[in-house]
């Protein structure tokens, strides 16, 4: 029988140190550990290094709030709710965040290599692009590829000629093993088994690649329930380290079968946080101005939350008005 170590949101986030390398669960505007990211800002963490297969609302908040020094990943935005990541754009242009760009395929290969403890992942995706232009290697230009930083590889990539089947030159992408995996899951078992209820994204790889993993869940359920269908689970209890229970922890991102994405909230965030002043107003209202996550939920209100609540038949809300008809 396994067991879990349960912490409060504040206790869990207090474990993260300034300068640590973080990776997250989810995809763009789905299953992001938002409540943990808000708490990171409340606790004033600085100089974080984010490794993201792709970013989203949660990391726009961390970047906008000045907690991030290094960002590497393939993409930042809110899909159709805000086409670019306005906070990362502002901070990159201002030189406040050092950015290193990858493609999705590159980032996926890197986290998979980290997950299975192999030093690199071979790929032929996205060759012949400026992602591989040595003059555009953001971390090298900042003097970070010296080997002195354990979470930053000495080369962005290496070209290697296939010695086995003469498939030609491929890229070897270095593994990434972040310090912390911050993972939102709708359900975690009382022995730590983790379940998600839709596309698995890169969540299982993030859990295995990171040195320590905090799972923030809507609820703890009996492991016996999750073990009735082992094929639906993405991680076992010994792969994770801490559990935080926090209802609506992914809001405004969505959690299939629990709640839909809060499109109005995300659209408004993207439209109003292009400037630092705009971000600061948002953060004062929704992050620093509420004393904890419960006050955040009270501020959102019952009507808003009930509108987002997902149907148990389809996994998404039938009450959200999405279009013009």
């Amino acid at each position: 029988m396994g067991s879990i170590k349960q912490l409060s949101l504040q206790e869990a986030v207090a474990l993260i140190q300034d300068g640590d390398c973080l990776a997250f669960s989810g995809f763009t505007i789905w299953r992001r550990p938002t409540a943990m990211c808000y708490e990171i800002l409340r606790q004033g963490k600085k100089n974080l290094h984010l490794f993201e297969v792709q970013g989203g609302f949660h990391s726009e908040v961390l970047v906008g709030g000045g907690a991030v020094r290094l960002w590497e990943g393939s993409w930042m935005g809110q899909e159709i709710l805000g086409k670019t990541g306005v906070n990362l754009s502002r901070k990159q242009v201002a030189g406040e965040v050092i950015v290193d760009d990858l493609s999705h395929g590159h980032a996926v290969g890197r986290i998979m290599a980290g997950a299975v403890n192999i030093p690199f992942f071979p790929t032929a995706l996205a060759m012949g692009t400026d992602i591989l232009n040595p003059e555009y290697d953001g971390f090298a230009k900042a003097g970070l590829r010296t080997g002195a930083y354990p979470k930053i590889p000495k080369e962005k990539y290496v070209k290697y000629k296939d010695p086995f089947y003469d498939m030609g030159e491929l890229l070897l992408m270095p593994a990434i093993k972040p310090d912390w995996g911050l993972v939102y899951a709708p359900m975690v078992g009382d022995e730590g088994t983790v379940r998600v209820l839709a596309q698995s994204y890169n969540d299982a790889d993030v859990i295995k690649a990171c040195d320590k993993v905090i799972v923030i869940a809507e609820e703890i359920v009996p492991d016996e329930y999750l073990r009735r269908d082992p094929t639906a689970n993405i991680a076992t209890g010994y792969e994770i380290d801490y559990v935080v229970v926090c209802p609506w922890a992914a809001h405004p991102t969505g959690s299939q079968y629990y709640y839909d994405t809060d499109a109005d909230f995300l659209r408004n965030f993207n439209a109003t946080t292009r400037t630092q002043d705009g971000f600061d107003k948002f953060a004062e209202e929704w992050i620093y101005g509420v004393k904890d996550h419960w006050e955040y939920l009270e501020k959102l209100g019952v009507k808003r939350l009930e509108t987002l609540r997902a149907s148990q038949a389809t996994g998404y809300s039938s009450r959200v008005k999405r279009g013009t008809r």
Partner: protein, 270 residues
């Protein structure tokens, strides 16, 4: 369906309807399609409801051949995975599907495009002094590098049809094999992994295709535009000698499917 296969007349459809119909015509029955949010979703869903019932759609967040009953607004949406053959994650879509060689057709957009069909979705300005950041690649570079055919969807503006991209996010028919800065044919870099490349570009004014040297030419102009109008909105020297005339409008049947079946909520078709 009661509506006919006759073409709708100018004034009976909106610009977005024409783009959706044109993009849908690029889908062949049986294609495995890697699509993104917005117009590509309209196109693949329209095609599946009309001439390509056996086309399968992959959304990069992990759903394989879903049968959505409600139009998704995000590729990570639970709506994408409804009735899917399988749902996994990005390792499955980018390696299990794309790198494995299953993908016939991709749909992509960008902030800038060059005459080889390369795209910029990363930033404008220089690396030392970026002026504005966009999203970055996401799957853009991967899909354009590996799909057999890719349809590029762009806004027609001179500054977007650039002689030289400020950042080559995604590879067209001519690329640079870093650290060598010379442009070489894609085949030289990809070798046995060169499955294809960009095959069409659809804008709000025209449709472009690529010649035997991988260079973009004007194929058709949308009703109301001339080849000269298009040439004025392209920064490089555009070949208009092969222009076949006007882009086909949507049919009444396509309009009925678009508004009643694909997007009845008015998400992308207001």
């Amino acid at each position: 369906m009661t509506a006919s296969n006759e073409y709708a007349k100018v004034g009976e459809f909106k610009p977005m309807d024409l783009l959706a119909a044109a993009a849908a015509r690029e889908v062949r029955d049986g294609d495995v399609v890697f699509a993104g949010t917005g117009l590509p979703m309209l196109a693949i869903t329209l095609a599946q409801n009309e001439h390509a019932p056996n086309a399968a759609c992959i959304y990069e967040a992990g759903s394989i051949d879903g049968r959505p009953i409600d139009l998704p607004t995000s590729v990570g949406d639970a709506r994408c995975a409804y009735q899917a053959a399988k749902a996994g994650g990005l390792f499955e879509t980018f390696y299990g599907q794309l790198h494995a060689g299953y993908v016939d057709l991709g749909f992509l957009g960008g902030a800038e495009i060059d005459k080889y069909g390369s795209l910029n979705t990363t930033y404008v300005g220089t690396h030392a002094n970026p002026k504005q950041r966009f999203t970055g690649s996401g799957g853009n570079a991967d899909i354009l590098s590996f799909a057999r055919r890719t349809v590029l969807i762009m806004v027609q503006e001179k500054r977007r049809f650039s002689e030289r991209l400020e950042y080559v996010t995604s590879p067209g028919w001519m690329v640079r094999n870093w650290p060598n800065p010379e442009y070489v044919p894609k085949k030289e870099v990809y070798g046995k992994y060169c499955y294809g490349g960009p095959t069409a570009c659809i804008t709000d004014m025209a449709i472009f295709r690529f010649d035997e040297n991988g260079i973009m030419y004007l194929d058709t102009v949308h009703p109301g535009f001339s080849a000269e109008d298009v040439k004025k909105n392209v920064d490089f020297d555009l070949d208009i000698s092969r222009c076949r005339g006007e882009t086909l409008p949507p049919t009444y049947k396509q309009l009925e499917i678009l508004y009643n079946v694909v997007d009845p909520e008015g998400i992308f078709l207001p």
